[in-house]
């Protein structure tokens, strides 16, 4: 029942918000539903902590890994909803640009992402990942400008084709399972596949074929280079709360799907094959994204490329494997979510005040918008991976894992790329921050919620950078148990 509630609340909220014609009431309904959903997520995570695995019927299942990603979506949902209150004051009135449509689509998007985490079946997992694309495509094209329509179309087509490849991979794994003697009716169920995984080794060619297609398919959605072309466009053109949601939850959602396949493949034919593929895509993403960050002109595109880079780092962590690499990778996805949300929120404030995201046209930010600048500085130190923030710890873990398994070349590449990223951020932001105070047209001041949510992001990053609380470490450990 806990699991059904998780899906029911956002679904009903999406319908309910739609009937609220008054903007104020729509916002109130959305906030109430959001609070309920976060409570439901907390309850589910709590119960998974005690009972290990929750199941409902044949198709819903939640284990330690689910709990970790549910926590991720819970935190980001709370931040994004709080941010949207201030953000919506700037949405111009129009047919499709109304708060009720915005919230309705957002809750639908949340519904599909939670469904991804709760799927007990790899076929259903595919269906849910595909529906996340469908639910968010309209949000990417929300503003109906030329750029937004183009980004939405590109996102829809590129991701649907990519995901089609993942379906092909899923079918190949299904075939391998059926040929190895698993009952066809349950040959896509996670539990059945995991218990049958050792015997899948007999059809190792098919398992390999399946993983290649799955890594290309779900990799498109994660934003691995060279399938990343949709990602910067979608992140830059979407409304800012959705950019944060795409970067902080959707990419992790696709990574979650890939993790499930990686685990089965590793159990079936050893981890060598799948982990090498992940290392190749991870290194490629980190290197290319780091270089492209240097030449970006738009703040949100810069942040989008940074997301590609961080997903690459997480893929490298998974590819190196072992308890340390995996722990680092999972921790990194969470840290990245929080830091990137903070960055997108400040980017939103910059857009509202300066009226542009072109970094060349922004000067004197530190004197004009001191609080926003503080958020931007803290966020960029965090995503550059410097102490005392959480990303330093997780990147350090992944580097340590690389050195301890004597993958010196990868460690070297990672360190060089991180330096390039740091240089790029410094290069872009010092120009924006420095300079005389600029006279801007009067805009509404930051709301108390805006200060609160920037503070919460920073607090989480600092706490995770100094000492990982034992409750959180417990959730991470239980997620690792599923993967090993």
């Amino acid at each position: 029942m806990t699991l059904v509630l998780l899906l029911l609340i956002p679904f009903l909220a999406a319908l309910l918000v739609l009937i609220c014609k008054q903007p104020q009431r729509a916002v109130r309904v959305a906030m109430t539903a959001g609070a309920l959903e976060i409570a439901a997520i907390a309850n589910a995570v709590w119960r998974i902590g005690f009972e290990g695995v929750l199941e409902f019927g044949r198709y819903l299942r939640a284990d330690g890994l689910t709990a970790f990603f549910l926590l991720n979506i819970g935190v980001i949902l709370a931040l994004v909803l709080a941010y949207s209150i201030g953000y919506l004051r700037h949405i111009p009135a129009g047919r499709f640009s109304s708060p009720r449509w915005f919230y309705s689509l957002t809750f639908l998007f949340v519904f599909t992402m939670i469904a991804v985490f709760l799927s007990a079946n790899l076929g259903m997992l595919w269906i849910c990942v595909e529906s996340t694309t469908l639910a968010s495509a309209l949000l990417v094209g929300f503003y109906n400008t030329k750029g937004a329509v183009e980004a939405g179309w590109k996102y829809l087509v590129v991701c649907t084709v990519g995901i089609a490849f993942a379906l092909f991979g899923t079918i190949a794994l299904y075939l391998a399972a059926v040929k190895s003697g698993v009952n066809p009716a349950s040959a896509l169920d996670w539990a059945a596949l995991m218990s049958a995984a050792p015997s899948l080794g007999a059809t190792s060619n098919l398992v390999k074929l399946s993983f290649v297609f799955v890594v290309v398919g779900y990799g498109t959605k994660i934003g691995f280079v060279p399938m990343h072309s949709w990602l910067p466009d979608a992140h830059a053109e979407a409304p800012t709360p959705i950019s944060a949601m795409l970067s902080a939850v959707l990419l992790n959602c696709a990574l979650y799907a890939l993790l499930r396949f990686d685990t089965i493949t590793s159990h079936a034919i050893g981890s060598g094959f799948s982990h090498s593929l992940l290392l190749i895509f991870g290194c490629l993403s980190v290197a290319v994204a780091a270089l492209l960050m240097v030449v970006q002109r738009d703040l949100k595109r810069l942040l989008a490329y940074s997301s590609i880079e961080h997903m690459g780092i997480a893929a490298i962590g998974i590819g190196i494997g072992g308890p340390l690499g995996l722990f680092g990778a999972l921790l990194h996805t969470f840290n990245h979510s929080v830091a990137k949300s903070l960055m997108f929120f400040t980017a939103g404030y910059v857009r509202e005040n300066f009226g542009t995201l072109r970094m060349r046209r922004i000067h004197g930010m530190a004197r004009t918008l001191p609080w926003t600048s503080a958020g931007l500085v803290v966020g960029s130190i965090a995503i550059a991976g410097l102490p005392p923030f959480g990303l330093f710890i997780s990147e350090f873990m992944i580097l340590t894992a690389a050195f301890s398994t004597s993958r010196y070349l990868i460690a070297l590449l990672l360190m060089v790329a991180l330096s390039v990223v740091f240089g790029a951020l410094l290069h872009h932001f010092q120009r924006m921050l420095a300079g005389k105070r600029v006279d801007l047209p009067e805009k509404p001041k930051l709301l108390p919620t805006d200060f609160a949510l920037m503070g919460v992001c920073m607090a989480i990053l600092i706490v995770l950078g100094i000492h990982i609380p034992s409750a959180f470490a417990g959730i991470l450990q239980r997620a690792l148990v599923v993967l090993q």
Partner: protein, 220 residues
């Protein structure tokens, strides 16, 4: 052997050839509506194939899948696409970047390539080589249509052909996936086409053309 068994066996045995013919005709087609009709015929061939399997295997689930294919892929999606073409009031030309002859030639090459690609798997897994090759050929053909045709609607059709390829692959290798999953995939497909249709209208309204090769504002 009774007449119906014979018909079922024939449908299964020759469906790959019919699928190849639809692909070659699609490559030669100059108008979007021709491609939609061909897609509908292609789906009908798949439906016949599933009916043959359902009859041979006495499987109720397979009959349900066949009914789904007929309602969604043979009727609903082509109908929706025709409506879009009519409402758009734009030119029907597919605007290919290759000439008709080149397209047919490339398509034939892709079909040959897919036979080479599946040969090792077909032997070790004891599967029907023709149908497996047809599945891969549909996949490649869909991708080819998407990159060579410039009209937004042709990209939707390319995607649908690609999806048909995956469907045929599932059919020949595992006799289809569990029914619930199939229904979910069909629902997603339907929603996807609906959304793409919505975006096609938006592209027309904001850009005043439908040529996706001219969508190049976002670069780098």
């Amino acid at each position: 052997m009774g007449l119906i068994e014979l018909a079922a066996a024939k449908a299964l045995a020759s469906s790959a050839v019919f699928l190849f013919i639809t692909l070659l005709m699609m490559a030669a087609a100059k108008r979007i509506s021709t491609c939609i009709v061909l897609f509908s015929i292609q789906s009908a061939i798949m439906a016949a194939e599933i009916l043959g399997m359902a009859y041979a295997g006495k499987s109720v689930a397979a009959y349900a899948v066949a009914a789904l294919v007929i309602t969604v892929k043979v009727i609903a999606i082509p109908y929706a696409l025709f409506r879009i073409v009519k409402d758009l009031k734009a030119s029907q030309d597919v605007s290919s970047s290759t000439t008709g002859a080149q397209s047919v030639f490339i398509m034939a090459g892709l079909i040959l390539l897919s036979f080479f690609a599946v040969a090792p798997y077909a032997i070790t897994l004891r599967l029907d080589e023709d149908l497996l090759a047809a599945a891969v050929a549909l996949l490649l053909a869909g991708a080819f249509l998407m990159v060579s045709r410039k009209k937004a609607l042709m990209q939707v059709i390319g995607l649908l052909v690609l999806e048909n390829g995956i469907f045929v692959a599932a059919l020949t290798t595992t006799y289809g996936m569990p029914l619930v999953i199939e229904i979910g995939i069909f629902f997603d497909l339907l929603m996807g086409v609906f959304l793409m249709g919505l975006f096609v209208f938006r592209i027309r309204d904001t850009f005043e053309h439908l040529d996706v090769s001219k969508l190049r504002r976002l670069r780098g």
